[in-house]
């Protein structure tokens, strides 16, 4: 345990000390001397962000259900706390037993966002754990990682001992089971790594070497050790009704980003939006049954006292029995004043009906994501919504008394032209006209339209994985074009920082040569890069310069479909042929149907079974 007097002293000095105290309802504190495996779940951002992450709650409860495993949480301390910890010589610790993370058997990082990589380095450093995998000794913890960014693990390949690719609920127990055996016979670190590398879904980067071509592209990747797989196949849970789901959730004292019950209704998505990584890597779609969901909702509500249930998934309106689920939830909870919310709404009439039902209890904010300003470009990205959908949805919303709407767009999409960008403005104006076309007595509140643009970042395992990102200057020009063409006080236009999006693109599609640059950037003080006040583009550029990394090579270069990509050795189930086909169709502005309406041959049903693809 860390020095409690010091801990008490620093708590007095920091902002929001409750982030660091633990002791929340439903948290689990075990005697660490009485368990066989100590697992520190490390979230590379602050408490409020990490506690909003469903995966944390699932794995935390799953592991703690096992009597001989203790899972505790560690978060990135905010900069004020970090400084105090350094001053007082307090190492990074877990919240439950306030135990230094270096005393754990595993430190498991979740990879939700590329720009949290410097926080991983920082947390290891604060935890007195060697940053590079090869520097770790027999008594150091295993540093492991999983999550969506793990589909391109290469930029942090030198840091992580092994990655878990895909869904973790089953494989994590297989790993820890192996660890118990390993511990019992006191095998070496290397032996254990060899052992886990045989488990499906596990990638041990140190066992592979990458060879490069003269033009800096990848020639090939070779295993260094006999018996390790050439490709890593992702893990999936076949039956979501049978998979573990927590019935209790830790109740944070401080308000978190998502302070409500997350009820995961299904995994995967059938829509096939061509920019969306989640839509590809989480296939196939697997639903939980209405009965199972009602059972979970009941227990979670009883055990937490939360006043909101959020139906989470990649596209919740696509749940096949949504109407039934919602009406049953409403029947149960309306009187108890528990609200039901849908985080992602589509712009079709069906969604509107659902919205109507939900609004009986509580009014939530209204946001829609047309993603692109013109129908042509929406077809390119295979976002199956039309302007008519938007108009219908907005008409309904204004009739029902909404006056604040948010519309999300991306700029820098492939084939984008000036008129597509101006289409964003046009949509904003159309929505405004719609509001004022209502008779005065029907309008409620003050109209406020927010148009929000993010800069497109091409991601691995999407049909756009070969696309070159717009340069930072191009993004600024496009932003100015839209900004200068909106002259209406009812319409606000905001946008993401192109510099940050550029770095996201570098890291998202980078290779292992980036590790050094990441560490260099961290040495220069980069951390919490996702927080705009903490993001220092110039430091990153200095780091790239010093290490000899050309960011444009990763972010801006259009890659040929023949090129070996850094993540090609991972098998997500969706085939490369399919992605190429989709890329071609995008260029031809051709739509691909929602695969619930008929298989589109993405390949997932050949390598995996489960869900709708059975």
């Amino acid at each position: 345990m860390i020095d409690i007097d010091k801990f008490n002293k620093v708590l007095k000095r920091v902002e929001k000390p409750a982030r660091y105290i633990g002791m929340e309802k439903n948290s689990v504190k075990k005697d660490l001397n009485k368990v066989k495996v100590k697992f520190a779940f490390a979230f590379p951002d602050i408490y409020e962000v990490g506690m909003s992450h469903l995966g944390l709650h699932i794995l935390y409860n799953l592991l703690n259900q096992e009597e001989d495993i203790a899972c505790e949480r560690a978060f990135a301390p905010w900069v004020d706390m970090e400084q105090e910890m350094i001053n007082e010589n307090i190492p990074l610790f877990t919240l439950e037993n306030r135990e230094p993370v270096k005393n754990f058997d595993f430190i498991g990082f979740t990879l939700q966002y590329e720009m949290s990589y410097t926080n991983i380095i920082n947390m290891l450093h604060l935890g007195d754990i060697p940053i590079l995998s090869r520097d770790r000794k027999e008594d150091n913890p295993f540093v492991i990682a999983g999550g969506p960014c793990g589909y391109n693990p290469e930029p942090i390949a030198d840091i992580i001992d092994f990655f878990v690719i895909g869904e973790g609920e089953e494989v994590i127990l297989e790993i820890l089971e192996k660890y118990k055996e390993y511990k019992e016979i006191k095998a070496s670190r290397l032996d254990f790594l060899k052992e886990v590398s045989r488990i499906e879904g596990i990638y041990v980067p140190a066992f592979y070497q990458v060879f490069y071509n003269e033009d800096n592209t990848i020639d090939r990747m070779e295993p260094l050790i006999e018996g390790v797989p050439r490709t890593i196949k992702k893990r999936i849970i076949k039956d979501l009704n049978k998979v573990y789901y927590p019935e209790k959730l830790i109740l944070p004292y401080v308000e978190t980003i998502h302070d409500r019950i997350p009820l995961e209704i299904f995994r995967g998505c059938t829509r096939g939006c061509r920019f969306c990584q989640a839509g590809m890597i989480y296939r196939p779609v697997r639903e939980k049954s209405v009965d199972r969901l009602l059972e979970l909702a009941d227990r979670l509500e009883k055990n937490t006292g939360y006043e909101d249930i959020s139906l989470t998934s990649l596209s919740s309106c696509d749940y096949s029995e949504l109407q039934l689920l919602i009406s049953k939830l409403m029947d149960r909870y309306e009187e108890k004043r528990v609200g039901v919310s849908l985080p992602s709404l589509r712009l079709d009439s069906f969604s509107i009906g659902v919205l109507k039902e939900i609004q009986k209890v509580r009014k939530t904010g209204l946001t829609f994501a047309p993603e692109a300003g013109s129908q042509r470009l929406r077809d390119v990205i295979n976002k199956g919504v039309t302007e008519e959908d938007l108009i219908t949805a907005m008409t309904y919303a204004f009739h029902e008394g909404w006056s604040t709407v948010k519309l999300y767009f991306m700029i820098g999409l492939p084939t984008e032209e000036e008129r597509d960008l101006l289409g964003i403005r046009d949509l904003g104006y159309k929505v405004k006209d719609l509001f004022f076309s209502l008779p005065r007595e029907k309008r409620k509140g003050n109209l406020k339209i927010t148009l929000s643009a993010s800069c497109f970042v091409p991601k691995p395992f999407t049909p756009f994985q070969w696309v070159g990102q717009n340069a930072i200057d191009e993004f600024y020009e496009k932003i100015d074009l839209i900004k200068n063409n909106i002259k209406d006080r009812k319409i606000t236009f905001n946008y993401h920082d192109p510099k940050l999006s550029y770095l996201e693109a570098v890291l998202a599609r980078g290779d292992r040569r980036l590790c050094k640059a990441l560490i260099k950037a961290w040495e220069k003080g980069c951390k919490f890069d996702g927080w705009s006040e903490m993001f220092h583009y110039s430091k990153w550029m200095e780091a790239f310069d010093e290490i000899g990394i050309d960011g444009d090579f990763y972010a801006l270069r259009e890659r040929s479909v023949e090129e070996t990509l850094p993540w090609d050795f991972i098998e997500p189930g969706v085939t490369k042929e399919y992605l190429i086909k989709e890329y071609e169709k995008a260029k031809g502005e051709e739509l691909t149907r929602d695969c619930r309406l008929g298989c589109t041959n993405c390949g997932i049903n050949k390598s995996f079974t489960g869900g709708v693809c059975k």
Binding site: P17, M23, E24, Y253, V254, N303, T304, G305, K336, R337
Partner: protein, 239 residues
């Protein structure tokens, strides 16, 4: 009907804010099926209010709240259910139904604090006693009140002399061997509530400014011991 409740907020729970505490209670009421009334409107909220919110970092062994119920449950059941749902630092000590039309917030007039600290320049209890005596003989005791309204910060002086009820030195141990000052515990009665409020931290700042005893603010620990109502010049429990 209103149930008036006395509770604690101790140990690490002193680090949760007033709003955090409100949410914590709201969820505990829900888990315990306490028949609490809700406000109307688009965003119905449970009807309960906590008197004289504590500042972050201050413990209390006596806090009060009023809860509006739509159905009567026995106070014994209430205490039992709630204490099962609440974290250790927060305990319901007492509960009783009240016919009082005045809210608990409007009743509270005084707050009694225990303040512990190390004073680097203090070595003698009598000297400290005299210093306090002199201080309280001043015509005025001025503190700076900072108000934030949006981005505007305004500062004004406030005379808080009448807000200090008494100061009692409860403990005094000088570290003579090291000559690093003394560990002190004082109890003090400070005005609280709508009709004037003196925060213990402001009190301590003002005291240090006048007495100059070298308070090490890292060592300060404040605990609220009691809250009082005032009626016809007499101080009494709000229960």
């Amino acid at each position: 009907m209103i149930i008036r409740v006395k509770f604690t907020k101790k140990n690490y729970l002193k680090y949760i804010s007033h709003l955090d505490l409100m949410r914590l209670f709201q969820r505990a009421f829900r888990r315990g099926h306490i028949p609490i009334k809700y406000s109307g409107g688009f965003n119905p909220q449970p009807k309960f209010s906590i008197a004289n919110p504590l500042a972050l970092g201050i413990e209390s062994i006596e806090e009060y709240m009023d809860i509006d119920l739509y159905k009567k449950i026995s106070t014994k059941d209430f205490i039992e259910i709630m204490n099962k749902e609440l974290p250790d630092g927060i305990r319901i000590l007492e509960a009783k139904y009240t016919e009082d039309k005045r809210s608990i917030s409007s009743l509270i007039s005084w707050s009694y604090y225990e303040i512990k600290f190390t004073a680097k320049k203090l070595n003698n209890k009598d000297e400290f006693q005299d210093l306090i005596g002199e201080w309280l003989k001043e015509d005025k005791i001025i503190i700076k009140k900072i108000r934030r309204k949006g981005n505007k910060i305004t500062e004004r002086d406030q005379d808080v002399k009448s807000f200090i009820g008494n100061i009692v030195i409860k403990d005094f141990s000088s570290k003579e061997d090291t000559n690093t000052g003394s560990v002190v515990r004082i109890d003090c009665l400070l005005k609280a509530g709508d009709k004037g409020n003196l925060k213990p931290t402001d009190f301590l700042d003002a005291m240090e400014k006048y007495l100059d005893v070298g308070i090490d603010f890292d060592t300060v620990e404040i605990k609220r011991l009691e809250l009082f109502a005032e009626e016809k010049g007499r101080i009494l429990s709000p229960m």
